[in-house]
């Protein structure tokens, strides 16, 4: 059998395991694939679902844009200076490991309910990996490259564009991949606590009503979106890392 079919085999195995688990725990814990597909199809027909999806999408996009641009700028600023890196990198690492969810009361008190709280939550989750990996990418640029830039009297902007960004791109992209994934998680958690619409809000509604088929349907939908997105970004990530490796050899 060809390796090409492996992912499809995995999907089939997962569906079978899901069916088995659903039969094991019964309809109170997990809806079967068939029921879930029906529920999902029903949801696609309602207007509320699309409103919720649009609300989550909007918050998620804002969170991603802020996380990536903020993380990239701060990461470049910190990474280009060894002293600043040594000073701030440990602090950022510790902040990254703090469970952001503990901060939800603070976020709610500062932002109030609604859009800004969701986006803040997404940014809190997505911002740190981008910053940390940008720093580590910039720090691992070979000094001779930066010396060349100085020898050629490139301006700061030119150095950034021609030397720093291309050299650090693979790690920066890995950071962005993690940041995007965590921003999605953060946005959903934010909606869980502080929203009146969005997929996360819909989930809380279903959880409080213990509507298992709808919970399963939304979970599977999120799971599929996250996996497909992750797959695409991972493929790009691999290509970038591959390029940079062959680039070093030549």
């Amino acid at each position: 059998m060809s390796r090409r079919y492996d992912p499809y085999v995995l999907v089939v195995v997962m569906l079978l395991a899901w069916q088995g688990l659903a039969m094991l725990v019964g309809p109170d814990g997990l809806a079967s694939p068939r029921v879930t597909a029906q529920t999902l199809a029903g949801m696609f027909g309602t207007e509320t679902f699309w409103h919720n999806l649009a609300a989550t999408g909007e918050a998620f996009c804002l969170a991603v844009v802020i996380s990536l641009s903020g993380g990239l700028l701060l990461g470049l600023f910190i990474g280009l200076n060894k002293f600043v890196t040594d000073l701030l990198d440990p602090i950022l690492n510790v902040l990254y490991a703090v469970p952001k969810i503990t901060l939800y009361p603070v976020v709610l008190l500062v932002c109030g309910l609604g859009m800004s709280a969701k986006v803040t939550f997404g940014v809190l989750h997505g911002f740190f990996p981008v910053t940390l990996l940008t720093i580590s990418g910039v720090r691992s640029i070979r000094p001779v490259h930066l010396k060349t830039a100085r020898a050629l009297r490139l301006s700061t902007l030119q150095t950034m564009r021609r030397i720093v960004l291309p050299a650090a791109l693979p790690e920066i992209f890995t950071g962005c991949r993690l940041g995007i994934a965590l921003a999605l998680l953060g946005t959903l958690v934010g909606e869980f606590f502080s929203s009146d619409r969005g997929i996360g809000y819909a989930l809380t509604q279903y959880v409080s009503r213990n509507d298992v088929p709808s919970i399963t349907a939304l979970t599977v939908l999120l799971f599929t979106i996250a996996s497909l997105g992750g797959l695409g970004l991972l493929a790009l990530d691999r290509r970038l890392h591959h390029h940079s490796k062959t680039g070093d050899v030549s």
Binding site: D28, T102, V110, F192
Partner: protein, 250 residues
Amino acid sequence: MKHIALFRLLLVAGAILVLEALCRTNIISNFTMIPPSAMVLAAWQQLSQGDALSELGYTMTNAVCAIIISVIGGFAAGTVLHALPRVRHAVTPLLASWYAIPTFVFYPLLVVLFGLNRGPMIALGALFGIVAMVVSTLDGLDRISRAVVKTGLVLRMHPLQTALLIKLPAAAPHLFTGVKLAVAYSLIGVIAAEFILATAGIGRGISLAFNDLDNNTMYGLLLLLVAVVVLINVVIRFCESKLYARWGLK
């Protein structure tokens, strides 16, 4: 190096002082945040009078269980996956996008599986921590150089001896990184589960205080929790740098 640590300490102290000043002068209202000094006082009160210690104990017991499951389970799963490259190839995208999936939506399923006790909390923590350990184990096993394994063959070592005396030490740095991540993520998982769904633990304490608008209790407990998590992470990072120095790595 000493200077850097001193600067960092001054920076953190300065930030706290600025926050204190902002809160004292009511630029940040006490509705939003109480001054850091008041937080410390509240934390102390919670420790000496409230039942914060027993709640923290409950949370930390769950976290320790989740950490043990993630580390052992992640190591075992990583070893098995490493031996089965085709399965590994197929599940890679799943591992890569795992952290974008809001794991806590599996709660109804976990309650049916484990009952309404600490089981679901531990399971959520373990689900969050285990993937980091799997990925690090795979990384570590990938990087064992063929030469050392061949040395084992030349010395006619038993496969078990090869595993214990050669492969394990060779993969150790990556395994330790995995343990570090598993600890951080399991803690995040357990605490997040408490915030969203719990019946006990310090997370619930904070949620209740937030709902009661009792900022004193809330910020006291919050400070305790964040302090414990930061302390655990700092200790692990310290051990990591000591171990790496001993192994002659960075």
